[in-house]
């Protein structure tokens, strides 16, 4: 199941040239970029692991792309995303966030029903991948 989180996630996956162009757009707007990764694809998981510190004072996308590639190399079977942070007063929030790598095989989510009192049923979703412990979730790989 193709996870749709962040900007562009309903589009076909971006090529490196497209990723570079998006990063450059962010940098041209003065938004510092950071790279994050996770193997917990739950949509409510907002705390992804940071790949290094956010990168300030960059003018060219090549530096960010180098970090993206380093992260892909170290975490080939993880989700990797690029965040661009708008620090201007009144915004101070993530302005752009998009996935730049996903695992080879995304098993998707299981719908869980919980029987509650008075025949109530509560629903929740559970990623199949999360059944395995951290670091062994996708193809048993890091």
């Amino acid at each position: 199941m193709h996870i749709t989180q962040g900007t562009f996630s309903f589009l076909p996956d971006l090529t490196d040239a497209e990723i570079t162009a998006q990063i450059q757009y962010a940098l041209d707007n003065g938004w510092p970029c950071s790279v994050e990764f996770t193997d917990d694809p739950h949509p409510r998981n907002v705390y992804w692991d940071m790949w290094g510190l956010p990168m300030f004072d960059l003018t060219d996308a090549a530096g960010v792309l180098a970090e993206v590639n380093a992260c892909r190399k170290a975490k080939p079977e993880h989700y990797v995303r690029v965040n661009a942070y708008n620090a201007s007063y009144g915004k101070q929030t993530v302005a752009l966030s998009f996935i730049v790598q996903r695992p080879t095989d995304e098993p998707g989510f299981r719908l869980e029903r919980q029987e509650w009192h008075d025949r109530t049923i509560r629903y929740t979703s559970h990623p199949y991948a999360a059944d395995a412990p951290h670091g062994r979730r996708y193809n048993g790989q890091q």
Binding site: M1, R72, T104
Partner: protein, 343 residues
């Protein structure tokens, strides 16, 4: 679950991100690039107007400002023109689809203090940007402190951060020989040099590195780091300025500050330069700037002491005595009390 996107061929049977992961199939990306190149290729009998290309890049503006603002430095200017010519010809070749490997543009600037290494580096960034060899054309100027860390594991992130900042532009490493300390083999500078070398080799299209420093020490730096020396294509030596050139520089600086010399002051200034040049720690254009700064100080205090209304003429004119006050003329002034003119 269902994915209708076309797969990127055998090698990338995995779906997603047709991105060239390190160590995986970059062939797809290359094929696309080739197709793009083929579409733009000119037929073999076409002609490319180099002069027009040149005009389009606006490179001549850089050259004329280089000539106007920088006195002397003939060998440096020649080399810069040669590099520009090569880059233009490469562009023309690319239009015919002739394969041109990206030229190695890393440089080393050697020369005495104050010979304009930093100034030329700034122009160089602008020039390479106009020629399309740097995407951004900014200059990141660093020294050892910005690259080398203070404890184990500090250096690599620090150097990498600087390199990331310089991507798309020009990295200017001033007094680069401090990176390598021969007397301390556990110095972290070596680690920094290794990272630099790797990036200089692998990411040539992303940034240009210029190492600058004094001639003799740079030479010994390259001797002890042969890898560095061989990765630098252009070793440019900045000659010391002659007396005439220094005088011209002085005139330019004075004019830029909105002052002017009287004709005697002009002669005195020349004599000052002659004397100063013979003294130790002479830093070429930088010494000229300092001399002018001090002349301005003396000029200001002279006007204050005079304690009378001044006109515009007086405010902009540097006179002989403003220059004669320098310690360079100490012996001259001693003579001056007995003789009227010892020049």
């Amino acid at each position: 679950m269902t994915d209708t996107r076309p797969l990127g061929g055998e090698a990338s049977a995995r779906m997603g991100f047709g991105m060239s992961r390190p160590g995986r199939d970059p062939a797809g990306a290359e094929a696309a690039e080739d197709a793009e190149r083929a579409a733009e290729t000119l037929p073999p009998d076409a002609r490319v107007d180099l002069a027009k290309e040149r005009a389009e890049t606006g490179i001549d503006e850089v050259f004329s400002s280089l000539d106007a603002d920088l006195v002397g430095l003939a060998p440096v200017k020649t080399r810069i023109r040669e590099i520009a010519a090569l880059l233009l010809v490469d562009r023309a070749r690319a239009q015919f689809g002739l394969s041109t490997s990206r030229p190695n543009l890393h440089m080393s600037f050697t020369g005495s203090p104050g010979t304009g290494k930093t100034t030329v580096a700034l122009r160089m960034a602008d020039m390479l940007h106009r020629l399309g060899y740097l995407r951004r054309g900014h200059l990141v100027s660093v020294t050892r402190d910005d690259l080398v860390g203070q404890y184990v594991g500090h250096t690599a992130p620090k150097t990498k951060e600087v390199l990331k900042r310089a991507m798309g532009g020009l990295l200017f490493i001033d007094e680069a020989y401090y990176l390598y300390r021969a007397d301390n083999e556990r110095d972290y500078g070596q680690e920094s040099i290794e990272i630099l070398l790797q990036v200089m080799e692998n990411q040539r299209e992303d940034l240009v590195v210029i190492l600058a420093g004094y001639k003799d020490r740079m030479d010994s730096f390259f001797v002890s780091n042969p890898g560095m020396g061989s990765r630098i294509a252009h070793h440019i030596d900045f000659p010391d300025y002659t007396l005439d050139e220094l005088e011209d520089i002085g005139k330019l600086m004075v004019a830029a500050e909105g002052y002017s010399f009287t004709s005697e002051a002009q002669e005195t200034f020349r004599e000052y330069l002659e004397r100063r040049k013979a003294q130790p720690r002479f830093a070429n254009a930088r010494s000229v700037r300092n001399a002018i700064e001090r002349a301005r100080l003396r000029h200001a205090s002279r006007l204050m002491v005079a304690d009378r209304p001044v006109n515009k003429e007086e405010l902009i004119t540097l006179a002989t005595e403003d220059i004669l006050g320098s310690r360079v003329f100490a012996d001259h002034n001693a003579d001056h009390n007995t003789e009227t003119d010892s020049r």
